[in-house]
Amino acid sequence: MVTKIRLVIAGACVSALALFAVFSQWGSVTYTATAQDSASAYPALGVRAGVYNDGQAALWDFNITDHFRYFGPPPRLRGYSPEQPIKFSHVIHVQQNKMECQYCHWSVSKAAYAAIPEEETCMGCHGALVAGKSEQGKKDIQKLKDYYSRNEPIPWVKVHVVPDYLKFNHKRHVKAGVTCQECHGQIPEMEQVERVSSMKMGWCISCHRQRGASIDCLVCHGQR
């Protein structure tokens, strides 16, 4: 008797799962409305919220959905070092030419974002003065100029990705005396930027504990 019931339950589960798979296309449960039901057509129309990357200053992308949609957060592994559209070398800029981090990443002490520098900043030197030494360098500087003349942002690939359900405030950390290297590693020695910290919650918390910073959830979560 028990077995029979179990079989029935198992069968029901399987068919329910199949139905769920069909109707929900697995992860993305989207509410769809018909045209007749246009009063509630609101959620069904248009594009997903947070499609901000079509514009100029798309520093935001805050789709929690994405992460669930792709079964987890984007690359959050140590050693993640994607190839960049322009082979920008921190070795040349920081180590050899002794540039300050904040010369380019100027907003790091002013705002939550340590924004990628404007192309205008790059063009300040590369516009007329520095044309590059190596073959690769010349090619990449030309690429930069092309982007700039097309008025187009360089599609840099994000290395240090934190999920968008949390707020990380660069300004607060810099003002509290946390150095760039503590989280980002020895960037001056990197030809291609690589992720050296896990940037997982445990990693954040351990530092917060050490320094006596707040570990209240709302300090990072609930806002962006």
């Binding site: 609101y42 959905t65 792709y70 079964f71 924004a115 982007y147 990705v161």
Partner: protein
Amino acid sequence: MEGEIVQLNANRKSADKEGLVQISRRRFLQGLGATTALGAAACANPVEQNILPNVKGVAEEIPGVAVWYSSTCTECSAGCGIRVRTREGRAVKVEGNPNSPVNKGGLCALGQASLQSLYNPDRIRQPLKKTRTTPTGPIFEPTTWDEVYGKLQEALTNATNRKVLLTGELPSGYQDLAAAFTSQLGFSQVVWDPMQQVAVAKAAELVYGTYGVPTFAIDKAQVVVNFGADFLETWLNPVGYARQWADGRRAEKPLRFVHIEPRLSLTGANADLWLKPNLGSDVRIALFLIGQMIERGRTKGISDDTRNKLSQLTKGVTATEVEAQTGVSKEKLLLVAQYLAEAKASLVLAGGASTATADPLPLLVLTNLLNAMLGNVGKTVDIVVVDKPATSATQVAALIDDMQSGKVDVLITAGTNPQFSFPDAFGFQYAVNKVGIKGDGTGKKAGIVVALASQMDETAQLADYILPLHTSLEDWGYVAQPGGNVSLMQPSMRQIFDTKSLGDVLLTVAANAGKQIGGDSTTFDAFVKARYLAITAGKSTQDGETFWRASLEKGGYFASSAGVSAGTPSINPAVYAMSYGISVKPAHHGDLLLYPYPSVKAFDGRAANRPWMQELADPITQAVWGAWAEMHPDTAKDLGIAMGDSVIVRTADGEVHVPAYVTEFVHKGIIAMPVGQGHSAYGRFANSIDQGGSVYSLLPKKIATGADTLAFTGSPVTVVRGLGSGDLVRVQEFNSQEGRELARTTFITGAGAHAHGEEHGEGYGEGHHEPKQMYTQREHPLYQWGMAVDLAACTGCSACVVACSAENNIPVVGKKVVAQGREMSWLRIERYFDSVETEDGGEELKVSFMPMMCQHCQNAPCEPVCPVYATYHNEEGMNAMVYNRCVGTRYCSNNCSYKVRRFNWFQYEWPDLLSWQVNPDVPVRTVGIMEKCSFCVQRIGEAKDIAKDLGRLVEDGDVTPACVQTCPTQALTFGDLKDPNSRVSKLAKNERAYKVLDHHLNTQPSVSYLSDIRYKA
């Protein structure tokens, strides 16, 4: 089954004993997570994310830091100052500008929703040309600006008949240019805005001697008697007047408010006494009051001669007779007369739906006379600083006649929608189609109709060409206000589409015709600057450029408030010859009469394309999305109609199909309907709901007697039951608190008792409930955030609800989902109809409005039931909600005593462009997540960030959540309860303060409510 459980437990025990499985719950979950992650890694490639830099830097912009622009709201004619918050070049929030003397920092729901005009997915994106008309509507195709300018120039050259610029009540910047345009190009300007109080302006001329809508000082009155003016909703300057009203209610001796209207409006719901006269008979009440004032010797404000003439008018108007005519008991009438006679300063208002009858002047004249004789002119009524509406129904009607007879060759429309809001009976559509048709019988079209519009609407659809305009958030301009203030408009972001400013379009059209209408300016922004500096010349010692910059930052030029200017009424003799009989008489005995009214949700229809406004619950009916017809239960019973039934409302001119809303708070003889729904071409949000037709189609072809406005109110209607249920969706389906003391009231008894000195009566003893705690009472080391809600100031206007949606990315879910009880609003306005005992033992209605949001309980029922610790109490006294921890069990919502938690049943999506309004400081929640009011934690974070930079703690006033910021009456206060000197701490200790359900449940909320103040009638 039982056996199984036992067995499982037994297994675990044995395993523990043997030390085989020693795994903590946390480890187990971590392991589970890892397994899932592995599975996921196999399924899908991780997404590569781009991070895009600015190509060029923007001088005053730091990525991630908001930039604010001061501007002016142009949604209605009040001209409230606004501040637009932009992030990385995009407007994300609109707030009231505290510098503006009009709104003093508050903003109404519609003003908040102006963002959804900017980002409306159905905006017109490029110039359009009508190619053909199909049975389902006209077909437009993209064209170029030059083509339209060329065609227009051609038509202007060839035009032999009238050229007309048909506009709404334009902000001064456009209007000044339009005036030059019309005079130099031989146009005539016709203005149509159904919200304008033209009859009020006309009646002012008859009694006060100046044409124009007077300015009122409600806060300076001790008694306000109001004949239907909805000054807390849409009337003239709702934000400013709501603030004045609340200031009056909060005074040492609160103002007493009597509302006289056949329907309980939001404004009426806030009154101490609501009288429900027969429609159109309120003029008799006004006449009776005049007689009473003469009898009681309160005629100081008028000459003896005037008084004698007036006493002739009121001869024979007795309380008994008026009772019979109006249906209002004579005791109440005498009470109102007594209030007025005893008040040192009073104010009598009339307007709104009550004065939209075919004969509005008698009532308005009488109320003005009352003000004059009571000496209110110069005290509470300013007849010097007046607003002169240019709206003219006669001129629109004449234009329609001219168009029909082929006497109009060029028609340019801008900022008005007469095809929707001018009654269909006049035949606007038919007439527009005849513009420029040659009278030679060939039917050849020589003329042109051009619509200048930012949104597609019914009027734009009739045009041959449509030129897309900037919305008010993308454009320059100024609003010159009566009294000398000039409020500036400036773009808060770059234009999104190929649109132009209305000013620039007029300048270009004129320039093509060889006219220079902007003076020295060839662009509209230059024109605005030049005009602004000219208007304010001599008002500042700064040089032009510095003053201009400072003005842009501040929002305009605001002189110090001069108070109410003195003025002497000069009464027109025609007043004495006027007939003061009942103005609305049904054609047949037993006729029901139509009572259309503008609502906070849709105004005259302009707000219908904003999803926030559609999903906002109407404060009185609690209905969302679409229109309804309000009727009395007795009427409904006679007609065999039940709540929510589909009904057909029919007049001689048309019919609409709407759901019935049965309520005892309308007069038996009327069918009250909100106007503004039932659009056919105003974008997806306005069109989709309520295809049953627009109320305007029910109105007769009738212009009011003596005033240049339309007869909206009083058409005889028949109502029959339609088919099935009418799709009425309400978010609150009950009326009474059933004695639960949720929204409490402190009653002022006797003539002038002081409200704040009142002892709490029976049932209020637990206002200061001592917290009980099984565990240690929570400690708050630094801050303890809390809120205070003053119910005496809350009008129920619902601006906070929209502000909350805007700030916190709350999705709009649509009518069907709301019907399932799955609305997402974090903040709702609860409204209760309760009956209270009057002093003489009768019963009186008491309406309560109560903003209800998460109470952030110190002893929160939701917290202990969360299995994953996604909701917990933080050290700053907040009930925190961690979205990424939530697994969606919904136990918390189940256990919440206030029902303020909302669950994401679906993945809600923003149609393109509306996604631009999303606040980047707040995460967008996904399906399966619980959410609720966070006290705007992102704003607290921002305040803490700024305070840390300044090396101090957060001070009182640093944190202002969105709802608190926008409240027109400052009913909401937020702050640190730990600081005994903060405003919120003081309010929480006020003797009117109490906490909802705390004395029953010991939830210890952080939100204190201050009981409403009412006079006992």
